[in-house]
């Protein structure tokens, strides 16, 4: 079976790749494009470590085929910092130690960024519900939630 040729945009860069029909977008990102920031925690949509956005929607890249990315706009954790300049969420996660092993962190950052774009002033409850599909085995979540809330407050003050 010949491979599928896909033309897409990843973090604003026009990208082409070849994949098998059964390859997930996560397989493509990690194994074909060398973008290993998105993690595979479960491969079944439960953990959120593979979170990316597609046409602005937060999705699990493990639950989408690579072939489906044709003509779409994908953003991943690799697109979050601008050069050496970390995104405010990334900076705050470091300052507040909102990570331990870090496996969940890329997915949580991508998901939190997508929340703040939609809702710059979320309540704690809204943050917790939005991130309910991002599992973390290390932190107990509290520092993560507080880092997201504080970043939101900083961004509101700055705007």
């Amino acid at each position: 079976m010949s491979q599928i040729h896909v033309t897409t945009s990843i973090n604003g860069d026009a990208t082409e790749f070849l994949c098998e029909a059964e390859d997930t977008l996560l397989d493509v990102l990690r194994d074909r494009l060398g973008m290993t920031g998105s993690k595979e925690g479960c491969g079944t949509g439960d953990c959120g470590a593979c979170s990316v956005t597609v046409d602005g929607r937060l999705v699990c890249s493990c639950l989408m085929l690579g072939a489906e990315a044709e003509g779409r706009e994908v953003t991943t954790i690799e697109g979050m910092a601008t050069g050496d300049q970390l995104h405010p969420l990334q900076q705050k996660f470091i300052e507040m130690a909102a990570l331990q092993c870090g496996i969940c962190t890329p997915g949580i950052l991508v998901a939190a960024k997508s929340l703040l774009e939609k809702n710059p002033d979320p309540t704690e409850e809204e943050v917790r519900y939005w991130l309910a599909g991002n599992l973390c085995r290390c932190t107990g979540y509290d520092k993560i939630i507080r880092a997201v809330m504080e970043t939101a407050a900083d961004l509101r003050r700055a705007s």
Binding site: G45, R57, C60, L65, E70, W130
Partner: protein, 287 residues
Amino acid sequence: MRYEAPNSVEAAVDLLAATEGAYVLAGGTDLLVKLRAEMLEPDLVVDIKRIAGMKDITAENGGWRIGAAVSGAEMGEHAGLLRDWPGVVEAVGLIGSTQVQGRATLAGNLCNASPAADSVPAMVAANATLRIVGPKGSRDVAVIDVPASPGKTTLAPGEFIASVFLPAKPEHGGDAYLRFIPRTEMDIAVVGCGVSLVLDGAGKVSAARVSLGAVGPKVMLVEAGAEALIGRAPKGDALEDLAAVCSAAATPIDDKRGTVDFRRHVAGVLARRATEIAAIRAKGETA
């Protein structure tokens, strides 16, 4: 496995009809899990998201036609759907996480044919119909007629659902869906209950549909539940009677998430509570 993303209904039907072991791909939140677990080994996957109209929500005869590729997140952002069928929107909104919401569809939830599918009792209560397309043309079917048994539907080979139609919301009508899960998020319904009702000028129920999920091999429409409500104000004894008939109608199994007795009891409790919410909405108040 082959992947195709046709851009017309006809091309999709031809592909599905020509290949044994072909599966429709909508949001993929069930299909990809099964692919990975090797529960399914399709020869062909037909992605319907590039067919014109599949992503549209359109007003039709006072109701709403929802394309088969519309995601839960898109439904939750639609003011008209939220106003007319908040119970259906809530039910689809309960499916999975934010990430799953970005992809999951009503038709996928229905065709996956899990007895615990959250949006299905809500669609049954709302008396939603499906436009099914296939090699013989198109036909409209009530939601209740699609699930056959766990994992099986009544769709014929080559057929797929093109859209879901939610009828015009009746005047002084309201709907609601509630499920019981042991957690607050990301879990499978132990019991689900959808209610849709209409109130007359005196505040009595003039029409009702009550449905239960996860307490039998497929969703059930509880006619006795509607009968317990019709002609009465939705409170007190009417709600007690409703709860009793819903508990009696439930035919659940015992498993690690709930015993038969517990599920029967919860079916009655949820029916009562969902009716109270639907009645508040029928009065034009928010709940």
